[in-house]
Symmetry: none
Subunit: 308 residues, 2 copies
């Protein structure tokens, strides 16, 4: 019998206990999932960065760390980690992200806020069609690619940028610094779905934000630290950017007193865009344990050098 | 060089100037589009009933009147009009409707209003996935069917109802009175896209609104008079319905003092869901000018005797 350690926040355990047991049984694996175990006896570590495990050295027998999070910037640099690390690619998470991004892109495209705040008089203002609206996605991983394709299916003119060249049907995909400059220059609505790495931290700084078209809208459901907060506030306050809808922040919960709170051009959503869903995530975990036992390559293995 | 007179409301001209010029150039036509011209020199009249032209007699050389409106009941009976009359069939209108309906369904699905009004504290509330959300469309004509399919592509559980039986891939389509009862009973989000006829006037009355699930949301971008206004207000005020987003009304503009104005559970959009779009409408106009010059039959020619 395998021993699987569930090393996430205590409060997540009730959500995962049954789905994990079901998924492991369905994968044909005999395993006990525990929230506490002698590290020397653990075969697989199901991991979240806000859980109890910081030092991986005592896990001498473990075969892999299976992250419950898509972002691994908090664990990838851990010097005690010498095991394979798989990040979570949860089909439920991707669906939720597509819905969030599509909903907020349409909200800004249609100018819905004006109506939600309440019209005072009959003053029609017809938006352009999606086929006349340029939306750009920074980051073309699983989530960025899924959002790009959902938006293209709604006729938006979608371009995308990633560090390494990628090809996506129906999407104008660019890479490199020059590609970034051109992508920003045409983005009426910009969606940031970048991983957080040394290269992407503060990627959206004052210089790059200044490349966006006048009145552009920024949506960030990816990682908070890819935006320079002060530069974003300046661009909004000077009227160069129209609005920012932010789901992620350098510090979460967003601290009381942070200038984002109550800012008339910022919409705060409290990290709701990409929640891992226990049912679907548990199946990914179980499949990776099955692969580990069968000697097959793990799904979604992290390139520790690249950081994602 | 042809002379095209733009005979619509002055305020529409800035919206059409560039799209018309582009569409005409792309159709390979050499023409000047003007808002004022000597009638004797005009080759084509781009027309809206609320514009400056009532008497067509002086347009002795013109080859056609090209309406910007789909409905021609205000011009068809004009005794001074002896020219061919084409009505507008704008593909952009259906696209705009799909974007409006998808945007507002996602807005209610994701609970976006809470964030637009501004969070006061960090209080995550993750919505269900679209695959767990039931949306119903009343009316499965061209617009209703297009909206149903766009929502199904986003994984919503879509059902539809029409007076006469229809079949749509991926949609649970019902008809008849019993079908309506079952459709309403499961509609967490209800979209009304019914034509206005003797049968549909007040179709959403107190009895039928009471069939909706507790907290359901109603979106009406079709025809205002399919809803019994007083019954809707009662259902909202008694807390049985969660919200109504209304684009159409019995009287438009919605009269000052109407109880819909300022109602906390009603979002008013001023008939913007299905507007003729300058880009796509301009292409229809340009194509008809090209046809006129090539001696080909006009598109969407009105049968003046029938009146449409």
């Amino acid at each position: 019998m395998l021993t699987v350690l569930f090393a996430a926040k205590d409060e997540r355990w009730p959500h995962y206990r049954d789905p994990l047991a079901r998924a492991i049984a369905e994968a044909g694996i005999v395993a006990q999932v525990m929230t506490k175990a002698d590290p020397a006896l653990v075969d697989y570590i199901v991991f979240a960065p806000n859980g109890p495990v910081y030092d991986f050295a005592p896990f001498k027998r473990a075969k892999a760390v299976l992250s419950l999070w898509a972002g691994v910037e908090k664990i990838a640099p851990n010097p005690t980690l010498r095991l394979p690390l798989a990040r979570m690619v949860d089909p439920g998470l991707a669906e939720g992200m597509v819905e969030y991004v599509t909903g907020h892109v349409l909200r800004h495209h249609l100018g819905i806020d004006r109506y939600v705040h309440g019209l005072r008089d009959w003053s029609p203002a017809v938006p352009p069609l999606a086929r006349e609206r340029r939306v750009a996605i920074l980051g073309l991983g699983e989530l960025g690619a899924a959002c790009a394709q959902a938006l293209a299916a709604l006729n938006f003119r979608v371009s995308g940028w990633s560090r390494r060249p990628k090809t996506l049907p129906g999407i104008l995909a660019r890479s490199g610094e020059e590609g970034l400059v051109r992508t920003l220059a045409e983005a009426e609505i910009l969606v940031a779905l970048l991983p957080l790495t040394a290269e992407t931290e503060n990627l959206l700084d004052a210089r790059r934000l200044s490349l966006l078209p006048q009145g552009a809208v920024l949506i960030n459901p990816g990682r908070g630290a890819v935006i320079d907060d002060a530069a974003l506030l300046a661009a909004l306050d000077e009227g160069r950017l129209g609005h920012a809808t932010l789901d992620v922040f350098r510090e979460e919960p967003l601290p009381q007193g942070h200038p984002f709170w109550g800012h008339p051009k910022i919409t705060i959503t409290p990290h709701v865009a990409a929640e891992t869903r226990p049912e679907t995530a548990s199946r990914v975990i179980a499949e990776n344990i099955r692969r580990g036992e069968a000697g097959e390559p793990f799904l979604y293995l992290v390139d520790r050098a690249a950081g994602y």
